[in-house]
Amino acid sequence: MKQIMLVFGYTFRDAVKKKAFVISTVIILALILILSMLPRGIEFFSQTDDDGTQSAEKPAETQESPDDLPRCYYIDENGLIADGSRVLSEVLGGVSVTEGTEGQLDAYREEIRKDGDVSAVWITEQDGRPYLHVICKDFMSGISSGDVTDALSNACLRQELAKQGLDEKAITAVTAPLNMEVEAVGELDLTGYVLGIIFTMLMFFAIYYYGYGVAMSVATEKTSRVMETLVVSAKPSRILLGKCLAMGALGLLQFAGVILFSVICAGLFLPEGFTIMGAELSLSALTPYTVLFLLAYFVLGYSLFAMLNAVCGASVSKVEDLNSAMMPVSVIAVLSFYLGYFTTITSSENGMLQKIAMYLPFSSPFMVPSRLLNGGIGTKEMLISLGILLVSIVLLALISIRIYSASVLHYGKRQNPLKIYQRNS
């Protein structure tokens, strides 16, 4: 244990002093500072504009000419929807609506094919009712067909009701949209959802960045032959554990610092009642219970991948070969991240894929924390998932230590870790 702590201390101090760590920390903190000051900055400039104190000094804003605006051709030669062009202009704010003719349709189509800002709405008759054709370049461009359908359907309805003899007041009363309110009774709130996604991203960052740190540290010691001095003093298993612990602690320290700084910045700079997409910023999802489990998943998730990365670092004879050696672990990490991330954002239900992501040791650190913050997972499920993760780490650690011990003094052509394991078992 003493040697593990010695390796831990030395590796930790060494990593903290590294330029890469200092620069990345400074950049992250600067970004947080800028982001937290942004709302106040926007507020300040909006106020000065409203007061007109600076308006006189500002150059006159250039007006966009109708030619620069996105265009929409409205073709209704039979006048099936009265006043359709005006209705369309109102609903498509910022789009110049021009009346067109059916004879020009092919020319319009050619123009639309070349320019994604141009679209057309063509009204024909089918079964005695107006039929809408929305022509646009592709599904990524053009106007919203839903908005167009809603607006013109409404105009059509008003036209029919007027024909039936209803007055304007009655028509407005009949066609007015109903008031509505969404009441969520589940535990999924915006802050928890956003925090979950952020945690998943941070988890991936930690596994990638600090895992790479472990691999690099091991590879550097091996290729610089320091390992030959180390390995006669301490067992390879102790060196491996000390290194993994040090890089993990470094990650936790950086995260803790970033979170603390974020909270301080939020308190100092964010305006009162600040909202994101209408939801007030709150950390109510972070209870001691959730923080405890988040910490457990961070530590265990990192440990799982750190063991694999250490083996990658030990398998190379040149630092330049490290990236290719890490490729299999990187692929596992990326696939696990996407599995965890998509099963989190796509559904809150517990389908088969969700269950796989929850219990698979490689994906659970990406998936469970987000579910936990959104109340989508029970304590029993989480403990099973943690248990599987823990057992996997122990098994993987035993295998990794064996491969690491055998390959750390092997130089020359890179060997297959599986063969090394078999040869030394």
Binding site: Q3, L6, S224, R225, E228, T229, V232, A234, L409
Partner: protein, 298 residues
């Protein structure tokens, strides 16, 4: 105290790295582990130190298997390995503490050795800023910091200038006088000849010579003759059947077959009125024995 290596074997796939190696070191001093490149010297050292498992055989110190926990040993590998981006004193203390020393004891020992090897002024310097020779001294201090009983030095003199070679030579003599057991490997045969009492010569994993260096040399008898004279002696040498080995600036070395041949040569010189200023009859050098043994084993 004794180091006993008994029938050590190690193979990597089809390649036999060490083949039934045995030797014993019963008293303090320097033991030579000599061999060609790829002879299995480093593998042997790793097996003795317990950082590589032998396929068969054993290495014991006072009858006990050697391990990191049971024996205080020091190992200076052939390839120098120190933390290039770290301060000299910091890493020496770290290496000392890994060998079970307290921070204070490691610091004290590091400073003592830094002074002894005349590199104390570099203690707060980043290792990469030191010259290759000074980096090597730091590596040596990392090997000796915990005052080990058994020391393995792999090519300790490579990269050292004459002044530092002399400094290291003195240190090795002092360590031997202190009662340390040193197993040394070097390609510089003159160095090995200077320090080693006993040796083992390896070639492609096999032991081709082992024993006491003096006895080995004695077994060869007088085979070399160095002569230095003011006049040309080649005619006399040729008539006496001597074989020219090397002609140097002020002397010439010949191969002889026994003392009688040397006597006949000396008589021949005197008869011609040539009185040599140097006439040295010798055993073969370790370098010659090495080349002869390796050549005959191929």
């Amino acid at each position: 105290m004794s180091l006993k290596v008994d029938n050590l074997c190690k193979a990597f796939g089809d390649k036999i790295a060490v083949d039934h190696l045995s030797f014993q070191m019963d008293q303090p001093g320097v033991f030579g582990l000599i061999g060609t490149n790829g002879a299995g010297k480093t593998t042997t050292i790793r097996m003795i130190l317990g950082i590589m498992r032998p396929d068969s055989g054993s290495a014991t110190w006072n009858g006990k298997t050697i391990s990191r926990d049971t024996l205080s040993f020091g190992y200076m590998p052939e390839e120098r390995g120190i933390y290039m981006k770290n301060k000299v004193i910091d890493q020496l203390i770290y290496f000392g503490r890994l060998r079970g020393m307290t921070k204070e004891a490691a610091s004290r020992s590091a400073l003592t050795y830094l002074e002894r090897l005349e590199v104390l002024e570099y203690k707060d310097m980043i290792a990469e800023k030191l010259s290759k020779g000074n980096q090597q001294k730091i590596q040596l201090i990392a090997t000796l910091i915990h005052e080990p009983e058994l020391i393995f030095l792999d090519e300790p003199f490579s990269g050292l200038d004459p002044v530092n070679t002399d400094l290291l030579s003195r240190l090795i003599r002092e360590l031997t006088a202190e009662g340390r057991y040193i197993v040394m490997n070097s390609h510089q045969m003159s160095t090995m000849e200077e320090y080693c009492r006993d040796l083992v010569l390896l070639h492609q994993g096999k032991t081709i010579l082992t024993g006491n260096l003096r006895q080995i040399k004695n077994s060869y008898g007088h085979t070399n003759l160095i002569v230095s004279a003011g006049q040309d002696v080649s005619g006399v040498a040729e008539s006496c059947g001597l074989t020219l080995l090397e002609k140097r600036a002020n002397e010439t070395e010949y191969k002889i077959r026994g003392d009688e041949m040397a006597n006949a040569f000396l008589r021949g010189l005197i008869e011609k009125g040539i009185y040599p200023t140097k006439f040295q009859i010798m055993e073969p050098s370790l370098n010659e024995i090495f080349i002869e043994k390796v050549g005959s084993s191929q």
